[in-house]
């Protein structure tokens, strides 16, 4: 029997307490090792969906399963270990006084012994090319470095799936490329929420378009990005001069 999918979302619907309905029955399956981009206009429900993946939001209709484990109150600690979310603003993600303590935050919450914590901190920082930054306070790092450290803070928990919210936003072109190199080399399942369509094409063979609280398209990224009708219907736009057909 093959491994259960990293993420299985079945008929997920959710309305906020103020009555605003954000999701109307989302189905999504992400297999182990896949890299998937989650595209969609503002207000499509992307963030709401992401917050369901680790049980921050619950209580609507439908079910989320992470590598075979249903997202329920009883399993929350394990679910949050398996689903590593990297939020958009690294200043929200990095709340401890130093980089090292921040990367150690998750492993210590898991109750790991201290030498294992230290080994994981070193390994995670090496994976994002930030070895040697452990003693530095986050506000001394550049924005791109903070974004990469934010990725390390969840890598140190050895997640089953890495979920990134707008990973390329506010990065300069070099920072964007460096992050892409880091992400491409990670041996984990990746779900990337983004407006940056070239970035999706570069990193994710498959894309899912969410609009109006439902999945409206799901397929190879290049196919979706060359479907001009689809893009126009869902307020997705390629940057000026970018042609997905001519990109390697």
């Amino acid at each position: 029997m093959s491994a259960p999918p990293s993420l299985l979302v079945e008929d997920l619907a959710f309305a906020y307490p103020d009555g605003h309905q954000a999701l109307y029955g989302v189905d999504l399956r992400v297999d182990r090792g896949e890299r998937v981009a989650l595209l969609g206009p503002n207000g499509a429900g992307k963030t709401t969906l992401v917050l369901h993946l680790n049980g921050i939001l619950t209580g609507g209709r439908g079910a989320v399963t992470v590598a075979g484990l249903p997202v329920q109150r009883a399993h929350l600690p394990e679910v949050r270990r398996r689903v590593g979310i990297v939020f958009q603003d690294p200043d929200d993600q990095l709340f401890m006084p130093t980089v090292g303590e921040d990367v150690a935050f998750g492993p210590r919450n898991l109750g790991l012994p201290e030498d294992e914590v230290r080994a994981r901190v070193d390994a995670a920082l090496a994976q994002v090319g930030m070895t040697g930054a452990a003693g530095r306070p986050p506000h001394h790092l550049s924005f791109g470095q903070r974004r990469r450290v934010a990725v390390a803070t969840v890598l140190s928990m050895h997640p089953e799936v890495l979920v990134l919210d707008e990973p390329s936003s506010n990065l300069d072109p070099a920072g964007r490329r460096e992050l892409a190199e880091v992400l491409a080399a990670l041996p984990v399942t990746l779900l990337m929420v983004t407006h940056d369509l070239p970035y999706a094409l570069q990193l994710c063979p498959r894309s899912v378009v969410l609009d109006g609280g439902v999945v409206v398209a799901d397929g190879p990224t290049r196919e979706l990005l060359t479907d001009t009708d689809l893009l126009a219907r869902h307020r997705l736009e390629l940057p000026y001069g970018f042609d997905p057909r001519t990109v390697p």
Partner: protein
Amino acid sequence: MAAVHGGVLGAAYLAGSSPVHRLPPHLKLVAVLGFALVVVATPVHADWAWAAHGGHLALVLLAAAVAGVGPARLARGLAIEVPFVLFAVLLPFVAQGPRVEVAGLALSESGLVAAGGLLAKATLSVLAAVVLAATTEPRALLAGLERLRLPALLVQILMFMMRYTDVVAGELARMRVARESRGFRGRHLGALRVLGPAAGSLFVRSYERGERVHLAMLSRGYAGRLPGGPAPAVPARAWLAALALPLGAAAVLATGLLLG
């Protein structure tokens, strides 16, 4: 924005590797607190009070010398004492009792003594605190407070304050630049109508950031307490070195009590 760079709160710290720098932070906290208690416990009206304070001053200056904290740094640290000085200056004028003539002014004798005592005690305690701040990084101080069993919630609040002071100061600076770029000048009373809402919007932004930080913490398994790192055992020698300051001060006080 240049002032923000490098951290507002880190400014008090002087990097170094003196024996005082290397002491565990919670020992230094205990030492400074103990020293301040002894200084405060020294009776103001005793004849030997000034001799005792002289002894205390010698001790704290010795600690500063060992820590490599120079006189300029100590003097700058004393600035925080200014409100106490203002209060102390008032005392000789308002206190009751027999008066003495000083430069043509009739001043209360007991007021003078009380003011002198207040100033001396405040100065000594602040000097000890300056040595502590100059030799201990802010986050090490927090670790020290945690080891001294300060309630975890208070430690977390202090920690977040430390982490986000610069972030909020950065937001404040950007808002100011944005205002002034559109011709705003905050020099008259009417400016309050602009600055009030700006303060409110800074509060709302910070509040929302707090919510996002909380989400990020929950996502990494936060369950109410911050996991600490390992706490290394403290050798008796370190205790002895740290407690030399309050014990020396206590010895000075005891000598005064016995001989006075």
